[in-house]
Subunit: 357 residues, 2 copies
C-alpha cells in the first residue's frame, strides 16, 4: 500500500508509492549524461581564464596574478546572468500585478582546474575550499542590503540542467526572499513561538532516535533521507548544532562538512551509477538593516537552521506534480537509506579485502 506523508517543515504532502518500489537499476536514463564540451574549448579550464569575465575571487596557492593559471578555486561572474547588478529594488505596480527590476548577482564558482574531476578519495580536499568560497561570497553579497537572499547550488549532469561539464557551482543573489524559504522560516518561527525549540533540531533529534532514515551520523553533521522526500534518494545534510547561517561555519566543521558532502555524493554515484543531481544550500536570508528596531527578519532568521538538499534526478516531473505541487516518490526514504547502507557495507568489505591482500 502506498502512503501519503506530510513534510513537517513545508506543509507539503508526498505520495510514497512503495508498491512501485524500484531498484536503482530501474532508472536507466538517470545517468549524468555529460554534454561533451571538451577541455580545449571549456571556459572553466586552466589556461582559458581569458574566456570568462574577470575573476571576483580565487584561491591561488602560488600567488599568481588574477585571471592566469595556478588557481585552485575561482569565482567569476556568470557570462549570461539571470539578473543584473545595477539598479534599484523599488517595486512597481501594473494594475493588479507587482514587478521590480531584475537586480541581483549571478556568479560561478569553478571548483577545480581539472575538467574531468569527479568525486573520489580527494573529495574532501577539493570541496573544502569550495565551501570556503561559498561562505566568503555569501558574506560579500549580503553586505549589499538590496540582496535579500542568496541561493547556492550545483547542477551536475545535463538532466540536472548543467550546460558545462567542468565542475562548478553557482550563486544567485536575489532582491526578495523566495516563497519556499519564507514558508520554511514561517514554520520554524511558529514552532519556536510554541515550543521555544528549533523545528529543524526537533526533526533531526527524532530522526536520530528513529534511525531508519539516517544515512550518515557523524560528530558534527547528519545526512538523512527526509521523511517526506519528493525524489528517490533525496538527501539532506544538517549541522547537529543549531546554526541559522552558513557564514557561521568554522574551519573545523567546514572540513567535517566537506567530508560528509563528499561521502554523500560518492555513495550516490557508486550506488546509482553516476546520476545527475542538484544540490542546494538553504541558509537564512540577509537580515534587514533596521537601526533601533529589531526587524521581522531580524528575529525570524535565527529560527532557521541551514542545510544542504541533494536531489538526484531519477524521475521526470510530469503534469501531476506541476498541477498540484505534490510529488510521487517511487522509492520510500527507508528503502533508499537501506540501499545506501548496503552499498557502504560492500565498499567497506572491498577496502578490507584490499588491505588484507
Amino acid at each position: 500500500m502506498s502512503e501519503l506523508r506530510k513534510d513537517p517543515i513545508v506543509d507539503r504532502w508526498v505520495i510514497v508509492a512503495a508498491e512501485r518500489g524500484r531498484r536503482p537499476s530501474d532508472f536507466p536514463s538517470a545517468q549524468s549524461q555529460r554534454t561533451g564540451s571538451s577541455g580545449a574549448s571549456c571556459p572553466f579550464c586552466e589556461g582559458n581564464e581569458g574566456k570568462t569575465p574577470p575573476e571576483i575571487w580565487a584561491i591561488r596557492p602560488d600567488g599568481s596574478a588574477p585571471d592566469t593559471a595556478g588557481w585552485q578555486v575561482r569565482v567569476v561572474p556568470n557570462k549570461f546572468p539571470a539578473l543584473g547588478i545595477e539598479g534599484s529594488t523599488d517595486r512597481r505596480g501594473l494594475g493588479m500585478f507587482d514587478l521590480m527590476s531584475g537586480v541581483g548577482a549571478h556568479e560561478v564558482i569553478i571548483e577545480t582546474p581539472e575538467h574531468d574531476w569527479s568525486i573520489g578519495d580527494d573529495g574532501p580536499d577539493t570541496l573544502e575550499p569550495v565551501l570556503r568560497a561559498y561562505q566568503l561570497r555569501l558574506a560579500d553579497l549580503y553586505r549589499d542590503s538590496r540582496f535579500r537572499y542568496c541561493v547556492l547550488f550545483r547542477n551536475y549532469g545535463q538532466r540536472a540542467g548543467a550546460s558545462l561539464d567542468h565542475p562548478h557551482s553557482q550563486i544567485i543573489a536575489v532582491p526578495i526572499v523566495p516563497l519556499r524559504l519564507k514558508d520554511k522560516l514561517a514554520a520554524a518561527q511558529q514552532h519556536y513561538a510554541r515550543k521555544e525549540r528549533c523545528l529543524f533540531c526537533d526533526v533531526i533529534n527524532q530522526e536520530l532516535t528513529l534511525g531508519d532514515r539516517v544515512v550518515l551520523d557523524r560528530e558534527h553533521f547528519v545526512a538523512l533521507c527526509p521523511f517526506a522526500a519528493r525524489f528517490p534518494f533525496e538527501l539532506a545534510i544538517f549541522p547537529k548544532r543549531h546554526e541559522h547561517d552558513l557564514r557561521l561555519l568554522d574551519d573545523l566543521r567546514r572540513r567535517a562538512l566537506a567530508e560528509i558532502l563528499s561521502d554523500c555524493l560518492h555513495y550516490l554515484r557508486s550506488a546509482l551509477g553516476d546520476p545527475a543531481y542538484n544540490y542546494v544550500v538553504n541558509t537564512a536570508p540577509n537580515p534587514l538593516p533596521r537601526p533601533g528596531r529589531p526587524g521581522y527578519w531580524g528575529t525570524l532568521e535565527y529560527d532557521f537552521h541551514w542545510h544542504i538538499e541533494i536531489m538526484p534526478r531519477m524521475t521526470r516531473i510530469a503534469g501531476f506534480e506541476w498541477g498540484t505541487g505534490f510529488y510521487i516518490n517511487p522509492v520510500s526514504p527507508e528503502n533508499a537509506t537501506a540501499f545506501l547502507h548496503e552499498r557502504m557495507a560492500e565498499e567497506a568489505l572491498d577496502d578490507q579485502a584490499e588491505t588484507a591482500g
Copy 2:
C-alpha cells in the same frame, strides 16, 4: 534588463530574463521525443483492449461490448496506480510526522483508438468527447467523499514524463487538497472577502484590457500567456464566465473549449516544432459534506475559477528552481504572445493562398 514579476494568485516571484530572450529554435532539445513503443504492442491501441484492466467508461458509437474494439474514448484504471482505491483516510502521527494511507484513484483516459493521432483539423472533434470524459469521471469520483481533489492532466512526449506515445490523459483522485490548490483558493477567498469580486475574473478582465498577453480571445474562453509565467510559452485557458467547477461546463461551451484547447496545442506545435508539454486542469475541490453546517470548503470553492494550464517543456528545471520555488523564464510572456500571433498570421496567409489557388 531582466524583470521580477509576482504572480497575483500564488504569490510567487518569477525572473523574466528578457535579455536572455531566445527564439524557439534556441531550444533544440524541446521536441516531444516519442518513446517508440509501437502500435502492435501498445496496450491503448484498438484491438488490444485485453492488455488494460477492465474499462470503467467508454464512448462506443456502435454499441459494442465493453473491452472490445469500436470505441472512441476509453477510460481504464492505471495498471500501475500511484494510489489504491481501498482503505480509510484517517491520518496518523509518527512523532512529529503526519501520514495517511495512499487512498485514491488513478485512471487513464485513452483519447482515440489511433496510435499516431496528433492535433490537426479534427482536433476539436477528438477533444470534445475527451473533455466529456473528464467531466463524467470527475463527477463520479467526487461522489466518493474520501476524495478531496481530482487532478486531470496530459503528459505529451518523453521529456514531459509520458511513458506511452498513444494519446492519453490521466486523472488522479487524492484524499487531500494539494498545497498549490489551497494557496490559489486562499488567495481567491481573500480577494473576494475584500472586493466581492473573483480574483481570476479581475485578472482576466485586466489582461483583456491590456491585451499584450492575450493569445486567443473567443466568445466563451480566453487563452493567455500569464503575466508571471514560469516557463517559456506557458499558456492558461480560462472560461470568461465565472465558473468554479469543470463539471458545470455545458454542451455548447464544451465544444468551444475543445476548439480553443485544440488551437492552443496546434499553434504551440506549429510554432515550436512539436514540443513536449504538460497540461493540467485546475478545478475546485470536492465540497465537504457537512449537513446543516456550510463548511469552510463549501464556501471557498465557489470563489475558485477553473482553468487549464499548458506548460511546454522547453527548459530544464535546475538547482535554483528546486532550491527556491521560483523560476527563471528566458522568454517574456509578451514576446511569446507576439511570436504565436506571427505564426497564426502566417498560417492564415497560407490558408488564404490555398483557397485562392
